[in-house]
Symmetry: C2
Subunit: 405 residues, 2 copies
């Protein structure tokens, strides 16, 4: 095993330990400064400190800064002919994007930013990563499935489109965790599941392929400290949550995943791991774009009598629904993905639908349940999707492509 990776493991362990200590140290500080949220799915109304994600993110940055000198030392000594500038560039560009994502998230937690800020900032801050991709590996070719070779050849170069695709991947990832969120343990839990899946993928690739291993090392360098610090955060955020992770965590985590998949050249594989997030995003679109009325919060509804959470609803006058919204709801209903009830009140027809999130969909399909069970269910779905992703990546792909890397 590579010595630098060993150092990374050791520093990750240190990062986990530091996170534990720092979260404990900062919980009273957050409460004292009035930085706390309200847990809407609890009987008690205790203040929960938020965003503790910024503490683990800061620990993560410290660990990364402590780590850089080790690969750097390896590069300056072992690679005799010349210093591998591209590797150092890849590392620094990734770190910039992660750092700006943390800053954006913390700003959002403290100041509640507008959507245009939240979309523009990650797009811009991913530019260095894309430029490094351009310098180190200009391949923008997509391998064509073998059944279409007669039509398109072995691979087609989609050029600038590939950069647009990667840019959109960054913006999607940065927001993906943030929109599948809201119950204890979910944000940190899903990130841990995805990050561990990616790390396993990297290790498998390192064992299978000797040649292109640097990318997978780089990915592990970023992911292992992330996993170590986030597991600790997950522990504190687990039901009943003693801390909230905040937008800071969501942006940080999303950007870390985006950066490793772009610098590691496995953005398509990453998309497979993100199937629940993609589904949640597509399912949310009618509400995100206000085709269907969207209440301020779409969290599940807490029932203090049974101590369970159930679907939360969006209720509106039926005639207020736009045609396009009507169409989306009809599609969802056809596939059994929607709770819908029409009723009359004060001589007008009203419509009630569940809020369009994966969380509410689970509650529709499996009924009301305890909040902890809901988190476990959602994390199980995430883990199941990772298994399917591995199956598709390593087995199915060999049926469709001649060569699979």
């Amino acid at each position: 095993m590579d010595g630098t990776l060993l150092v990374n493991c050791a520093l990750s362990a240190l990062g986990g330990f530091l996170s534990y200590r720092m979260i404990k140290e900062f919980i009273p500080i957050f409460l004292q400064r009035g930085m706390h949220g309200n847990d809407q799915c609890k009987v008690s109304n205790d203040k929960v400190p938020e965003p503790l994600g910024v503490v683990t993110a800061a620990v993560y940055l410290i660990i990364m800064f402590l780590f850089i000198p080790f690969p750097f030392f390896q590069w300056t000594t072992s690679e005799i002919d010349k210093f591998p500038h591209e590797k150092f560039l890849a590392f620094l560009s990734g770190l910039i994007s992660v750092c700006t994502a943390i800053l954006l998230g913390f700003g959002d937690d403290v100041l509640d930013l507008r959507w245009r800020h939240k979309l523009m900032f990650p797009t811009l801050s991913s530019l260095p990563v894309l430029m490094v991709y351009y310098v180190t590996n200009r391949s923008t070719s997509v391998i064509v499935p073998k059944y279409f070779h007669f039509l398109l050849g072995q691979q087609i170069d989609i050029g600038p489109l590939y950069y647009i695709y990667m840019g959109m991947m960054v913006v999607f990832c940065t927001n993906a965790i943030n929109i599948l969120a809201g119950i204890n343990g979910l944000e940190a839990g899903q990130s841990v599941v995805i990050a561990i899946s990616v790390a396993i993928f990297n290790i498998v690739q390192l064992i299978r392929l000797e040649s292109q291993d640097w990318y997978h090392y780089l990915s592990l360098y970023f992911l292992l400290p992330f996993i170590a610090t986030t597991v600790v955060l997950f522990y504190f955020n687990w039901y009943p949550a003693r801390v909230f992770v905040g937008d800071t965590f969501c942006y940080w985590s999303g950007m870390t995943l985006a950066v490793v998949c772009i610098l590691g050249h496995f953005s398509k594989t990453m998309a497979l791991f993100l199937v629940p997030q993609v589904f949640n995003f597509l399912y949310s679109i009618p509400q995100l774009f206000h085709l269907v009325p969207c209440p301020r919060h779409r969290l599940p509804k807490f029932d203090p009598k049974t101590n369970t959470v159930g679907m939360s609803m969006s209720v509106f006058k039926s005639r207020e629904l736009k045609p396009l919204g009507q169409f989306c709801l009809a599609v969802f209903q056809t596939f059994g993905l929607l709770h819908r009830r029409e009723f009359e009140r004060d001589g007008e027809m009203w419509t009630e639908v569940n809020n369009l999130t994966l969380i509410n969909l689970c509650l529709k399909l499996f009924g009301s349940m305890h909040e902890r069970s809901l988190t476990i269910l959602l994390l199980s779905i995430q883990a199941f999707c990772s298994c399917v992703a591995f199956f598709i990546r390593f087995y199915m792909a060999s049926l469709v492509y001649d060569v699979v890397h």
Copy 2:
């Protein structure tokens, strides 16, 4: 003139405009979120939003991200033989340090961090800059004044000591602006004066020397957007302050200056521009290290009757003063740098000295004055020091060294 520099100027202008718009947009948001401070040198007790420095810092980052593609495009097209990785590395490493400094500052404003966090974080985040310095220019030699050539040779290599010196420079710069602060317009004003001085120095060097011009271009790339955004912040922070800049600004500004002088290889010249900050630090040491009792705030004292500010005092029992503190005070007194009064109360001897900051020293030397006059006085001192720095750098140096770059 270089086309990329022209683009940088245009983007800087855009940055100034955006800063103006964003500060106006965010002032009510900050007040609404309860992010405000108290102006202790005013009759009225209006809430002043703080830290608006984070808004201009975010605009700065956006401008920098928008800018990177331009030099990048120039590098990929004009330098035919190979892509200049070192230049890109220098750019990214600088941006990382600036970005982490902003994050640290914002964290400090929101959470009031401890000293150990504030010293450790910039030290670590400057590592990439030092590593890039190592890769691109391993020179750690110091040129020896010609009178000592017979003793030490033309230059001596101080090796690792040079990196320690640069690391200390980063930590000093990051905190230098923060400890010479507290009255309307001072933080932003001194940063503007220093940054403009450095930019003039860069331009003079670009005109004088054709060879090593890249470093000075890099420095200007970082400084011009900084000047443009900070001038706008200065305008809002000018007496009577409508916004406070916060620790965010101080760390951001200090780190930007540190980064350009290290990547630009003119850290010794930078030290000349920072003479007021260095003096203020040295003068503060007895209180910073608690050799002399240090009250929580060392701001000048506001007199509502005359609407002026005067020296603030530290009052303590004479026997509580440690011998080392006694010694420091005696030294300051010898040079006329101290107000000191001994008096008896309740049968014990008490000592009253002015708080040891450059601001209070000015008030001792020139008497109480209006807060705006005090800012103008301090900024004039800063500008005067810049003039002296130019004189030393370009005239005196030629007397001591044979070749001056």
